[in-house]
């Protein structure tokens, strides 16, 4: 099953490599990983998407908790949560037809065109990872030059929060 593990950790040099190292050393897979400091700059928030059986996920969370720099973590997939990913995508728009088509798609997917050249569009799109996937499929006709995805960020629904 797919799990979204959200980690609050000390904002120390090397903290990220401890997590990445743990995953490679123990053969766990990482689908995506994002990290940035929180409102308290001594803390970083990391969102990690992984897959595995219940036993593997249990070991992953225990092993992550064991890292000295990890303050707290939660498996968001265990409860209601919201997840978002941001994508920047540059596509070739050779003619007016292509432009129109892409513009329409961007509207449908509620994205923004954030840069334009005579032959390209750059689009910003935010949403659930599935929506970004669907957008890429829908683009089908317009050749993609570049795709940049942020990886998943997620937060629990309701009043519950991950803080110290």
């Amino acid at each position: 099953m797919r799990h979204i593990i959200s980690i609050l950790m000390e904002n120390e040099a090397g903290a990220l490599s401890r997590v990445a190292g743990l995953f490679s050393a123990r053969g766990y897979n990482i689908e995506s990983l994002t990290v940035a400091p929180t409102e308290d700059i001594t803390l970083s928030r990391m969102t990690l998407v992984t897959r595995g059986s219940d036993e593997i996920i249990e070991q992953i969370t225990k092993q992550l908790n064991k890292l000295i720099d990890v303050v707290k973590l939660v498996d968001l997939a265990e409860g209601p949560h919201i997840e978002r990913e941001m994508m920047l995508i540059k596509v070739k728009t050779p003619g007016a037809g292509a432009r129109e088509e892409v513009t329409r798609l961007v509207e449908i997917f509620r994205g923004n065109i954030i840069d334009v050249t005579p032959t390209t569009y750059t689009i910003e799109l935010t949403g659930h990872a599935d929506k970004l996937d669907a957008f890429i499929v829908a683009l089908d006709k317009a050749p993609i030059l570049e795709t940049v995805r942020s990886g998943v960020s997620a937060i629990s629904r309701g009043t519950k929060s991950l803080h110290i």
Binding site: M9, G14, S17, E55, E58, Q59, K62, I68, V71
Partner: protein, 583 residues
């Protein structure tokens, strides 16, 4: 680079705690002494020259100069295992640090508290492929409990305090502190940090009361209970509590290799080692018990054999301070996260409060069965032949040292024979590399043990293969007058490898023969020690007596043993514990 000369050893810790300005190197040595460190095992080099200079100008810490950095880590490790106090290592950057890796990994696998200080190139050169630069923090990350790079001298004392705190609490382990050379020269105020608090690290030591109640209920209902205990009992100095629990439940007790001495080997309830080279009675009891109480043990694959066939009839209670050890390999029924002492004492209290009495009838039958297994006498060996039996040599060492020696060992058949035949009645007496299985561990570990216990008998039971992996330490032993007794069970083979080749590779002895061995007697003498050699069964007792009589000398006793002797019982890879190969 300005040096400040500071009067060495200016008094007790109270006075030390006044704020003073010191160099990083002085902060380090002062801190270590204030922390109560006795010995630093190390080897100098460019990046740690300031530190060595500070060491020279103080006399509260004793430095033991080894002959190879790997030996420094094993010596600190032996010191830690035999005392419970953290071992301390000091090595230079680059090759000094890489040489220490094997010892750090060894300590990590066996959860041994250790603080390793590595020198580093100056901060402005880090990342430049500078002379003797290696990414020590990167290399040690997967084989240390934690590590630090100190970039500011003002952080040094606090980082060191954290290092000791992390190394010695929770599930213990080695912590590496990498200190760039410039940081050891810079000046800062020093005050010994007495308090430490870390929001991200708070190991649980008290067991959950509800879980303890559930466990106690399960014990009370057991018909065929069994205790399987490991290194956690030794690490938590909990053998008294464990022994009391064993006696109260009146159940069989087995120990892992790491747990030997946690329950007295001479006790009737002790059924010996379990696992790959465990006794018939221990492995059969595991396979047939209905309630297993696992205490401070981690269900290692050498212990469980085929996991599907492990303890198939048992409900399992597991006490461990590391949540990640629980249900990692074997799913358990009652997990209890906490320290052994705390949890077992709470169990005892609950059992007594409940007026617990063992069920004589069901236990009687259980013991009857166990005695039948025990009657197989799976550790028997014959002394009739022309060759010295290694098992006999270990039995004799036990008898002659009155079972009261500290025994270190290397890795191989001799290690298993030492574990099976020495019979440890006390904790912290059996010092071996279980998890990593590091050949070359025995002699340097014995140095640390002997330094910590100058009056005690310290034996290193080794093989002719292993001893050559850190033989250079004979020189360190001479320098520091360490009267270790090296008992080399010399079978002329990498015996454990040969045994596997005999069993599983049709006796194709690929590179397991130890050719061109040195004359160990002459070698010992060349290093300034005593060497003795025996090859006849009739002479072995006399030789061991003579060896241990030489109280203040290191003796290298080279015992030429039966080259094709095997370690029995043995559970072949993939088999269940009740499918042992017996002699």
């Amino acid at each position: 680079m300005a040096f400040r000369v500071f009067p060495a050893n200016d008094g007790a810790i109270e006075k030390e705690s006044l704020d003073v300005k010191l160099t990083g190197a002085e902060i380090l040595t002062r801190f270590l002494a204030d922390e109560g460190v006795e010995y630093v095992f190390g080897y100098p080099g460019g990046a740690v020259l300031h530190i060595y200079d500070a060491l020279h100008r103080q006399d509260r810490l004793k430095h033991i100069l080894v002959r190879h950095e790997q030996a420094a880590t094993h010596a600190a490790d032996g010191y830690a295992r035999s005392t419970g106090k953290p071992g301390v290592v000091l090595v230079t950057s680059g090759p000094g640090a890489t040489n220490a890796i094997t010892g750090i990994a060894t300590a990590y696998m066996d959860s041994i508290p250790m603080v390793v200080i590595t020198g580093q190139v100056p901060t402005n050169l880090i990342g430049n492929d500078a002379f003797q630069e290696v990414d020590s923090v990167g290399i040690t990350r997967p084989c240390a409990k934690h590590n630090f790079l100190v970039k500011d001298v003002n952080d040094l004392a606090m980082v060191l305090k954290k290092a000791f705190y992390i190394a010695t609490t929770g599930r213990p382990g080695p912590v590496v502190v990498d200190i760039p050379k410039d940081v050891t020269a810079e000046i800062a105020e020093y005050k010994y940090p007495r308090q430490i608090e870390m929001r991200s690290y708070n190991p649980v030591v008290k067991g959950h009361p509800g879980q303890i109640k559930r466990a106690v209920k399960m014990m009370a209902g057991a018909r065929r209970p069994m205790i399987y205990s490991g290194g956690g009992v030794i690490l938590d100095d909990a053998s008294k509590a464990l022994t009391e629990l064993g006696h109260l439940l009146n159940c069989p007790v087995t120990n892992t290799t790491m747990g030997l001495g946690g329950f007295p080997a001479s006790d009737r309830q002790f059924v010996g080692l379990l696992g790959m080279h465990g006794t018939y009675e221990a492995n059969m009891a595991i396979s047939n018990c209905d309630v297993m109480i696992a205490i401070g043990a981690r269900f290692d694959d050498r212990v469980t054999g085929n996991i599907e066939k492990f303890a198939p009839r048992a409900k399992i209670i597991h006490v461990d301070i590391d949540p990640a050890s629980i249900s990692k390999n074997v799913k358990v029924d009652v997990p209890i996260v906490g320290g052994v002492n705390n949890v077992v004492k709470a169990m005892l209290k609950q059992l007594k409060a409940d007026g617990f009495k063992p069920n004589e009838e069901t236990l009687g039958k259980w013991w009857e069965q166990i005695e039948k297994w025990r009657a197989k006498d799976c550790l028997k060996y014959s002394t009739d032949g022309e060759r010295i039996k290694p098992q006999h040599a270990v039995d004799l060492v036990h008898r002659i040292t009155k079972g009261d020696a500290f025994v270190t060992s290397d890795v191989g058949q001799h290690q298993m024979w030492a574990a099976q035949y020495y019979g440890f009645d006390k904790p912290r007496r059996w010092i071996n590399s279980g998890g990593l299985g590091t050949m070359g561990f025995g002699l340097p570990a014995a140095m640390g043990v002997q330094l910590a216990h100058p009056k005690a008998q310290v034996a290193c039971i080794t093989g002719e293969g292993s001893i050559q992996m850190n033989i250079q330490e004979l020189s360190t032993c001479l320098q520091h007058c360490l009267p270790i007794k090296i008992v080399c069970l010399n079978n002329g083979y990498l015996g454990m490898v040969r045994q596997w080749q005999e069993f599983f590779y049709d006796k194709r002895y690929s590179h397991s023969y130890m050719d061109s061995l040195p004359d160990f007697v002459k070698l010992a003498e060349a290093y300034g020690h005593v060497g003795i050699q025996v090859d006849k069964p009739a002479d072995v007792e006399g030789a061991i007596k003579e060896t241990f009589k030489l109280k203040d000398r290191l003796v290298f006793l080279n015992i030429l043993t039966d080259p094709e002797e095997n370690v029995y019982p043995m559970v072949p890879a993939g088999a269940g514990l009740d499918e042992m190969i017996l002699i």
